[in-house]
């Protein structure tokens, strides 16, 4: 029985974190899958959201700047808004760059943000991180607490999926894919490429900020380690590419699958002799990279590849019949 509860807790935690990664991947999918924008600084937007919500909601402690004790919902909404603002500024500067330069610029910005977090101790508490971040549903007993948080994450994923799927099927999404496929032709047919790209970038950044906030509240703690590019930027890219970019379902399936496997590799490297443990994290990256290669051999465009939406006529016929 105890073992069963243990497995249950493990599954709940896997799905919760997988779901949080799905929020991140859905945001990246909007930028890369639909917009062709190579954001290699996902960790930066994640960090903005995580720290914004953490600082605003952590309890007020005398003699300490960190902590405003605001309600969690205020923290989460502010995290999204701040990420949007940062996304807007970054987008205004970087989106006119070619794809590979955009990647470099976003990596740079994410690294700057990480240095800020490491060094602006008055704001972020530096390497010790922010503790005692409130978590919703704290009054619930035992595993129900974790279940409730999983429910929250699932609801966020579902709402985000619906919102992004509506966008993807709309004329807005059609313009985004046109810009992705051929920018010059989209401009020649009247589309304001810079404006559409900025919109996609800002919306995607908001989702990344939201995932940061959800992480901070899930762990009740946020420190600079959580913003390392390896476990945000790198993993989320693997998740999206494996799941299938330009497919919002792929952007949910990929994270859950890859996070499960990533966690499994931890169990695996845990069995290594102690002198190898230190190399374990490199081994995990290697294994995940290998896995991505295998997936892409078999499914070159991801497990759930892009499928153009059906034309509106089909829906009209359905509506008539129904």
């Amino acid at each position: 029985m105890n073992a069963l509860v243990g497995y249950g807790e493990y599954a709940v935690s896997l799905l919760t974190i997988g779901g949080i990664y799905a929020v991140m991947a859905l945001g990246l999918n909007l930028q890369w899958g639909y917009g062709g924008l190579f954001n290699a600084g996902v960790s930066g937007f994640f960090a903005v959201g995580a720290y914004a919500s953490a600082i605003l909601t952590a309890p007020v402690t005398p003699g300490h700047f960190v902590g405003f004790g605001l309600p969690i919902i205020v923290g989460i909404v502010s995290a999204m808004l701040l990420s949007a603002v940062v996304g807007w500024f970054v987008g205004r500067i970087c989106l006119r760059l070619q794809s590979d330069y955009l990647a470099m610029a976003t990596i740079g910005i994410a690294e700057i943000l990480r240095l800020v977090i490491d060094n602006e101790i008055w704001l972020t508490n530096g390497s010790r991180g922010i503790v005692a971040i409130p978590r919703p549903f704290e009054d619930l007993p035992g595993i129900w607490r974790d279940f409730a948080y999983l429910g929250l994450v699932a609801a966020v994923v579902a709402a985000l999926y619906i919102a992004l799927e509506l966008l993807a099927r709309s004329p807005w999404g059609r313009v985004m894919r046109a810009i992705r496929d051929n920018e010059a032709a989209a401009a020649a047919f009247g589309k304001d490429v810079a404006s559409f790209r900025l919109q996609a970038f800002v919306l995607g950044s908001m989702a990344m900020g939201l995932s940061g906030a959800l992480t901070a509240h899930a762990f009740k703690f946020i420190g600079p380690d959580a913003t390392l590019p390896l476990i945000t930027t790198f993993l989320v890219w693997v998740m999206l590419i494996a799941g299938g970019s330009a497919n919002n379902r792929g952007a949910i399936l990929g994270p859950i699958l890859i996070w499960t496997l990533w966690s499994a590799t931890e169990l695996l490297t845990g069995t290594l002799p102690p002198e190898w443990q230190i190399r374990g994290s490199y081994l995990r990256v290697f294994l995940i990279g290998l896995l991505l290669q295998v997936v892409l051999q078999r499914f070159p465009r991801g497990l759930l590849p892009e499928r153009p939406p059906r034309p509106p006529q089909a829906e009209r016929v359905d509506a008539k019949e129904g």
Binding site: A163, L167, P171, W172, G173, A178, A184, A188, F189, P311
Partner: protein, 261 residues
């Protein structure tokens, strides 16, 4: 102003190479103007300057009488200019139908908020756009490919689809860069017919770059001959054919099209 497009002493250099050399001509309103000349004459570069893609070093472009200096490609489209590309720029991972449906101006559903909250209105608009796109594909004989990804079409089909994109709006003027290239001979006759029909139906003017002299002779008046960045001759096809300088330019460039014509 009788010209829908006036090209006024346009000069363009790439490094030491003068691609356009104070080039001037007009596309009369309501005409189908042909633009011919050997490869490298600067025709495509001129199209790109008119469409706002490339900036000229000197000179002006007047669109419907107004100087369009500094206008971006998407702004020029809003002003009534539509174009195709010498090398097709299809949206590869989108269906042929979608490639046409992208085009219409000012779609309500291109706004994020409308896409979320005004879905009834967007749907109604989509139905109208869909009908126009399907009618266009029907005319072009591409209906069978409506659900195909544009990247999978043949070169000739892409050319037709690009023409179709320009048919999704009531443009003031359409620039076609070698619409017949890669299109087989039977389809070429159809293509000419489509352009004639568009020309009759709307009050749209055309400027067509083309190497197929039969197509030019059938459709275009006036015909402008460019060579080495300048206008060499200009007039009806019959006059052009008789022009010794034109023959020399084409023979010099060893282009069989004109030599045979």
């Amino acid at each position: 102003m009788s010209a829908i497009i006036a090209v006024d002493r346009i000069t363009k250099r790439y490094g030491g190479l003068t691609v356009l050399d104070a080039c001037s001509f007009e596309v009369p309103r309501g005409s189908i103007t042909g633009l011919i000349g050997p490869n490298g004459a600067g025709k495509t570069t001129l199209f790109n300057i008119i469409a706002g893609v490339t900036r000229a070093d000197h000179g002006r472009i007047l669109l419907d009488g107004a100087d369009v200096a500094g206008k971006k490609p998407h702004e020029l489209f809003q002003l009534g200019l539509a174009r195709t590309f010498q090398i097709p720029k299809e949206w590869t991972r989108m269906t042929v139908l979608e490639n046409l449906m992208v085009v219409p101006r000012q779609q309500a559903g291109e706004g994020v908020l409308a896409a979320w909250f005004e879905r009834g209105r967007v749907r109604r608009e989509e139905m109208a756009i869909l009908r126009r796109a399907e009618a266009t594909l029907e005319i072009l004989g591409l209906s069978g490919h409506r659900a195909a990804l544009a990247g999978t079409l043949s070169g000739g089909q892409k050319k037709l689809m690009e023409l179709g994109r320009t048919m999704m709006v009531d443009a003031k003027v359409v620039l076609l860069d070698e619409p017949g290239a890669g299109v087989n001979r039977t389809l070429l006759g159809d293509l000419a017919q489509h352009i004639e029909r568009l020309h009759r139906g709307h009050a749209t003017s055309f400027c067509i770059i083309e190497h197929d002299m039969d197509l030019i002779a059938r459709l275009c008046d006036p015909v402008i001959v460019m060579a080495e960045g300048r206008v060499l001759a200009e007039g009806k096809m019959a006059e052009i054919k008789a022009d010794a300088r034109v023959r020399a330019a084409y023979l010099g460039a060893a282009s069989p099209g004109m030599a045979a014509a």
